[in-house]
Symmetry: C2
Subunit: 454 residues, 2 copies
């Protein structure tokens, strides 16, 4: 379609259609990978966007500490500055786009921009997860828009969908694969039978994982996105402190293998569920049945399955990161603000809607219920297996299937791996049973427990 666009650009330039349109000035904070993508998109699509939204979006200023490096896009050097305040305080800048990341200077600048009466677009999940309440309140007081589509799901318009498309739904549950690094590692462990550490090292070498991978593999990045989704869905600020977070660090290859034999893939899921007047937010590795649509989300792709009480199950899938996908969502947000500005002002409740009622209670992890995959190294002696199942039963955990596994790589002289799938059980009961099993001396090492998605 690129030639259509080029034809069209020539056409519109000839016709001078953009000339009489209202201009919306954009100022960029952070000229990194995504920033350069946004600049390129705004340049390439300026006339097309003008026609689609009825306003001419003009990039006015870019601030970054480094204004020398080549980003693969051509910009007028006069719009570059190392002073963020020059962007925020430029009267020709209507929309400030924050792509710095983190909660230090990014927070200061977003607050400054809102105070200066500028609408803000941000892709900063950590900032919103940790300081969303403060930021959304300020945006409301300043009567400006704040859009944050790219903070969750990169190129997937999940924030827009929750805020607008599903506005009439009570959200029953959301299950999200929200971290491409983890999904890439899990996909390779499964497809190639490689151990976690090897895949992580390769992913780091290939640039798919950070040199300090903790934010990704320990689940915190997923948790940041989960609390943003939960806040959007349930109408109150869900603090990070209530999210139970478990990552994929050290996941054993044999569990990936056993899960696969049982017809499951292991995915790192953000799980957000409303039940009664309780909301549960957690991040954990989870067994997903192979014929579930989330099981087909491979490699660096992300997806969110949202169950609304009206829509039933819906799913949104795409690239959760990367220069162009993220830029696409940032540009969509800028266009929304531009449309609002030419229509007369900010639209109501663009941030997280705070309902005036009491927020629902957060369900504690120990109360949460699920089916479980358990893998234990059980002492290879008569009665061990019986002891193990008896203890589970005494805690009200019933077993759907249990099997003793063999295989040179998992067997030593004294212990044999045993895999059990439980019926739905309370996490607290599972934990109590495992504590007793540990104390009983019939198992070696730490038992492995992974939830099963139903």
């Amino acid at each position: 379609m690129y030639s259509i666009l080029l034809n069209f650009r020539n056409e519109i330039t000839r016709q001078g259609l953009v000339k009489d349109m209202k201009q919306i000035g954009v100022g960029l904070l952070g000229f990194g990978t995504v920033g350069a993508g946004v600049v390129k998109g705004l340049q390439e699509r300026r006339e097309l966007l003008a026609q689609k939204i009825g306003a001419d979006i003009v990039l006015r200023r870019i601030a970054d500490l480094d204004i020398k490096s080549d980003r693969g896009v051509t910009v007028d050097p006069a719009i570059l500055t190392t002073e963020a305040s020059e962007v925020i305080n430029d009267p020709a800048v209507d929309v400030v786009v924050e792509l710095i990341g983190g909660t230090g200077i990014a927070k200061t600048l977003v607050m400054e921009a809102l105070r200066a009466g500028k609408s803000v677009v941000t892709a900063n999940k950590k900032l919103l997860a940790e300081y969303g309440e403060e930021i959304f309140t300020l945006a409301e007081e300043s009567e400006v828009d704040i859009y944050f589509g790219a903070s969750v799901g990169g190129g997937i318009p999940i924030v827009r969908v929750l805020r607008e498309g599903l506005v009439g739904n009570a959200i029953v549950s959301m299950y999200g694969i929200l971290n491409g690094t983890c999904n890439y590692i899990l996909t390779r462990m499964e497809n190639e039978g490689l151990p976690f550490d090897d895949v992580l090292k390769e992913a780091q070498a290939a640039g798919y994982a950070e040199s300090n991978p903790s934010l990704d593999i320990d689940g915190f990045d997923t948790a940041h996105k989960a609390v943003i989704l939960a806040s959007l869905a349930y109408g109150f600020h869900v603090p990070m402190s209530v999210a139970a977070v478990e990552g994929i660090r050290g996941l054993a290859g044999i569990d990936v293998k056993f899960a696969s034999e049982l017809g499951f893939k292991i995915k790192l899921l953000a799980i957000i569920r409303g039940e009664g007047d309780e909301v549960e937010v957690r991040v954990s590795p989870t067994l997903v049945a192979v014929d579930h649509v989330l099981a087909s989300v491979s490699g660096v792709f992300n997806a969110v399955m949202v169950k609304g009480d009206y829509t039933g199950d819906t799913l949104y899938y795409g690239r959760g990161a990367g220069r162009k996908p993220t830029a696409s969502t940032v540009i969509g947000d800028i266009c929304d603000i531009a449309r609002n500005m030419i229509a007369g002002g900010p639209r109501h409740s663009r941030g997280i809607v705070r309902l005036p009622s009491e927020p629902p209670r957060m369900r504690s992890v120990s109360e949460s219920r699920s089916r479980y995959y358990l893998r234990l190294m059980v002492l290879d002696r008569a009665g061990s297996l019986g002891r193990f199942t008896t203890i589970l039963g005494s805690h009200g955990v019933s077993i759907q299937a249990v099997s003793q596994k063999c295989g040179a790589e998992v067997t030593d002289s004294d212990y044999q791996p045993v895999v059990a799938l439980t019926h739905v059980a309370r996490e607290a009961d599972i934990e109590a049973a495992l504590a007793e099993i540990r104390a009983s001396g019939v198992i070696g090492g730490e038992p492995v427990k992974i939830r099963i998605l139903d």
Copy 2:
């Protein structure tokens, strides 16, 4: 979450928050299944929506020829009328929701509402596919909004995503499973090895298919949705006449079986592709590799895979029909109009954006290129298979794999089924080759040709 909503409703009623809000009046044309769902949703969620969008959405009038039957919702009898004009001309009605369907009276009433300065929400794909240009032009002239999210994909917010979320993207391609009836039939044929006619009859008995199933199984319903998606993506009205439409009527069980053996599922796909300055719109049964995410879309579910030049592949999945999913999308549209109204007026280009440049050229079917699955009943005589492959080769169609099939159900004394997968070929070349093969006398019956999704 329902109890949260109820608590919240009580809370808000106590606080009287809705009292001072601007009211947006809704008038409904058509009180059928979806209409009743919209009424129920607006009733159940009135306070929640008020809080989320900052306006109180009030159902003012409902018109239907039948205002006696029980729809399972309670409405004040005074708002019911058999006269559509009473809805359209009621000064308290700001938004007219058309849920009558078809292109007769529905068209007249939509045009009347737009002329009367009312914004319109419609779920009517046939109306927009056939008269979209006229309707969108009138909406623009009347300076009102027209929203049509539920015309494609039921509860899936695909129209919103194309119009807003992906606004900065040039759309490379869209592949859609857009008809739940067809997908249900194909899923059962595959899972249970049943013949087409049996599954259709059962689907009719179960209410999943109409007594006159042609609109669904001959692909026209999918085509209506395809031209709406194509128009949204490419910025000009794509007429139904340019869509090449092939349905699933009479699809043979053995082709479903052979496809499955080769690692494919057969799906009825809407295929929309932009290449150079050409656009292709077609509907046809298509082989989809089992590990493709579209292959996991089973039963009555719909999905659209959209490839944007910035986002890359994205996918939207959910229920494509039904009372509550469709009502969810209609309510989302009503809320958008309400937000626009309190912000000051209609938003630019809510219909299909018409770019001022020349529309792209429509690519004719014969020029389209694809890999193909071919199944022919070849004369069981030495040289027949060679003859068949030679003819294909002479038309520039090269074969990736060919195999002779056996099986009591497909074999008779003289002919054996042969399945070939081709490399990418032009449709016109395939057709010419098949014509020559037919004339050569080496095959019995009609050759079967199904495209393969790459």
